[in-house]
Symmetry: none
Subunit: 205 residues, 4 copies
DNA sequence: CATGAATGAGAATTCATTCAT
DNA sequence: CATGAATGAATTCTCATTCAT
């Protein structure tokens, strides 16, 4: 029991350090000082810097995977909207409780080589796949403009979300979560939805 | 004369190394081997690793600043569109001739501390300011939906562009430049322009 | 009672580990894993790695001291031969039942500093003393060539025995014990015995 | 030029340290302190402790290989004796000029794993092969007793030489080189030579 | 007695930077 | 100017030993 706690403590401290200094500048010394633990203790729980980081990364990515659900098109336009909102909300809420990891992911996890990049890119790949599928379903159901290039549009959507998160990580002043999500949704919905649908929905949102 | 050439040569070689290995993994040894220059020679031209990188970064950011021009709303809707396209084209074209720097910027430049982050964020800040101004002008001229939250929308726009560039840096298969730019434009125009305007422009694009 | 058993168990396991990995490469972790005992338990019975090894060494050397008896020259030439054979047999038999310790002694025990070297050298010193005395007695009784330099000859004898043991420890193919002992004896007897005696004994062996 | 000198200096200092403390107890710190050189300098010349040691070992073994020549039986009994003496003299003389390496080889090189053992055992294997061939040639020419088991006898010969060297490495008082060699020769010759030959040579030696 | 988590001294190694030639 | 050998601070990692439960 104690052991699991210590482990958690070390993970938290490591995250704190990674968030403050970045992966490369972070040293084991930093981590153990933060955790008030002896050098050897660290190695009792983790193989090294790479390993703690990987664990934190895995943890985060799988938490995010849990938050993000495929969009089920059968529930109709407003159902789709609700699902998109739920996904966004899940991601933003997760990061609000994990500002440290947000900073790390947004500013360090890329360019680490070590196979971290691969994990992260695989994650983005999964996101893109979900977005693309939703777009294609949308086009078939005539909800989404048929002209749109799904490939590029999905990048735009992903990018719009990432950028907002990035600015939050950088401590830029960003409107509060509720508003941000609404706006991201509005933005992308406007960009995507077919004219017919926009007219119908016009009154609501 | 010779001196300036050598300096340039070193900068190019350093960029090659940074692009291949990333800032941290790049060593002076890598750079001087690539440049076929003695260790001491490097320090004759630069204060150190940090300094070469900074110079490359400054160079790139100011080149980009040159490519990107304020949007002059006085030229009317299609003029604005053309200006946006010109900006996008400038940025994409610049990076197509500097894949190395694209990789560096997209995967390493953030999270380096060292003040590099600050420079990059200032640059993004300038971009955002331009975008925001354009949006505000657009709203005043009733080209852009008034409902839109300019703050968030400008992040979305920036993000959509960055993401496409990011995927290009990661060697993901992305449609070719001309199409990508068109699509980004279309996407953002749809997202932003007022319904009236969309109808008018509908025929063109 | 239990205590003595555990102690013995630990010694055996430590020996196993030392034989497999050598003194330096052997870790306490190896020993306690082999013994299926907790870390602290080990230190309950021994002061440390050094101490277990020392105990194993002492044990072996005193067992060997017991096997090796002074040569009593009063029993005549064939009696001397029998005593030499008995000594050799004792040593070889001991090691056949303790291959682990043979490996340790032959390949690690020297060069450990720690005072182990001293113990081992004292043991070899005792052996040499016995051999030397036998040679000197032999010379006085005109059994051993008078020309022979006792100092060097005793080293040669010791060396011939050690080398055979060394090769056995290294798993080299060596004829079986009975033959090896016979041959070592023959070799050294030929080297040492006076011509007169050789002629007399010629018929027997 | 300077570089080769430094390298040599480091090798010498490393040998000094290895001879004093043994391979395992020797630290890079010891070596660089002895050499009065900075930490990094050491790594400029060698990959690590293992590598310096390997170089010293290779150097020694190939020097020894050079000293030791096959015995050409065609030059007759006294020629063979002279060749044996030359070999012994070569080995002993080499070690008198390299006491450090003698200590290392005799007390540490075994049990190092790392592949050092293999090298050493291969060397001993080569020696044994030379000795065995000489014995077999001798038996065919009726110089060496036919009864003798060549396998064991060659171990005895090797052992007698190694033991004398070992005692010298341990700083035991051993008669001086000339005498030692003579005695080792006498010892082994007596053990080996056929009775006929012994009688003939009897007068000479 | 037994346990095993915690400790921290010590060893190896890297690499940006300096400086004598 | 150019060179590249030398430097040493900083970092990671190991493992014998201790001690609270």
């Amino acid at each position: 029991m104690r052991k699991a706690e210590r482990r958690r403590h070390l993970l938290n401290c490591a995250l704190k350090v990674f968030a403050r200094k970045g992966y490369h500048a972070a040293s084991i010394t930093d981590i153990i000082k933060t955790a008030k633990v002896a050098r050897g203790t660290f190695y009792l729980y983790f193989e090294g810097k790479r390993a703690v980081f990987e664990e934190l990364l895995d943890e985060t990515l799988s938490a995010l995977d849990t938050q993000i659900k495929r969009i089920d098109p059968s529930r109709g336009p407003s159902g789709v909207l609700a699902q998109m909102e739920a996904n966004l909300d899940g991601v933003f809420s997760y990061f609000m409780g994990n500002r440290g990891m947000l900073r790390v992911l947004m500013s360090e996890a890329v360019g680490l080589d070590n196979g971290f990049d691969q994990k992260l890119n695989e994650f983005y790949g999964r996101l893109l796949a979900i977005i693309k599928m939703a777009l294609e379903d949308g086009q078939q159901m005539d909800l989404v403009k048929s002209k749109i290039n799904v490939e590029v549009a999905s990048l735009c959507i992903l990018g719009s979300i990432k950028e907002v998160l990035y600015q939050q990580a950088m401590d830029a002043k960003v409107p509060k979560q509720q508003i941000v999500i609404e706006e991201i949704l509005r933005y992308n919905v406007n960009a995507l939805l077919s004219e017919d649908l926009l007219k119908k929905l016009g009154g609501k949102k």
